[in-house]
Assembly symmetry: C2
Amino acid sequence: MIVDDHPVVRDGLRGMFDHVADIEVVAEASDGFEALAMARRARPHVVLMDLRMPGLDGVGAIQRLRADHPEIKVVVLTTYDTDADVARAMAAGVAGYLLKDAPREELHRAVRTAAAGGAVLAPSVASALMSRPTAQEPSPRELEVLRLVARGSANKEIARALLISETTVKTHLKHVFAKLGVDSRAAAVVVAMERGLI
Amino acid sequence: MIVDDHPVVRDGLRGMFDHVADIEVVAEASDGFEALAMARRARPHVVLMDLRMPGLDGVGAIQRLRADHPEIKVVVLTTYDTDADVARAMAAGVAGYLLKDAPREELHRAVRTAAAGGAVLAPSVASALMSRPTAQEPSPRELEVLRLVARGSANKEIARALLISETTVKTHLKHVFAKLGVDSRAAAVVVAMERGLI
DNA sequence: ACCGTCATCCTCCGAACGGGTGATGCCGGG
DNA sequence: CCCGGCATCACCCGTTCGGAGGATGACGGT
């Protein structure tokens, strides 16, 4: 099954599997909700899933999909390989993570490997997983503060918005700085954006 | 002609025009340089061009393409509609700007319109163009300062790095804030990243 | 029962930031 | 020729940040 919100990509993928004997495209969906509904009926062995989609996004869809149908293998096929995307996909339990610049042979191989119970990772994704031994993720509350910082809010404003004291805001930010390895709010929002945290 | 670095997208686009009588895909390219070489031989009427590509990117390719073959119409087909992307594409003289979530009918229509000398804009792109009457772009020097801010540098460090006084750095930043409509360095880097300025 | 994480709060303080006002020189377009 | 944008610099001043200490309670897992 193919899940992607771009008609162009869906057509391209279907075409790539058109003349492949051992792979059949049994369904297509353009967002997460549609994917769940289609999977229930079509019962695919493997799902090729984009991550960034309107409505229910890829990670949410994967979580529900794997809860409903643990036997279905999910291979992520996306444009981005940011730490946050990769980490969330891995946590959701995917069988593969490929980038959209992959050639058709790699896609064929990935689907077969996944169907056989194996795992497939794009090279850049593999290295992204390696290069984060101490990847400290900010807590939900810390991210909330960070998002307001990204909007240009001062600590005092953030305190008012979140109904906490300014001291607490500063404490949260101190922890965020430590976890992101920076020492200023400007650098923090840049790192957070690059990692897809906000 | 189709220009996109993703094989999946190229296949999808070719498939979309496969059974369309009045449109023929005469060439494909996976980056800007290849696009220039192919255009010279294939002489397409219309080029569907992605913007973000390895090597020579879309805007650079469009500029050279229009210099060499002014009669060729270029329609941008990309995932993003950031101000900077749209503005640069428009400045390069494109006949259309569509997003990759466009349905096939819209693509057909766009190619026909472009071939006939018309212009096609995705709705969100049109509104992006509208919503910037006073879109003040920071000057090169100001962007240089902003990039260092995004690295987390303090004004004093920026001054040392650029061999200017701290006062000058603050002046540049003051102007950047005014142009971006923000009042803090954190918000400035966010806006700059969203607009593709840094 | 204990330890780590999260979330909340406090004080003190120097450095950094952002706003205001003003000035100089250069350049290019009207 | 003059005006506006750019780049450079100065001084003042109030506010904000970020660092360095600490502290408390709640929760969840070992």
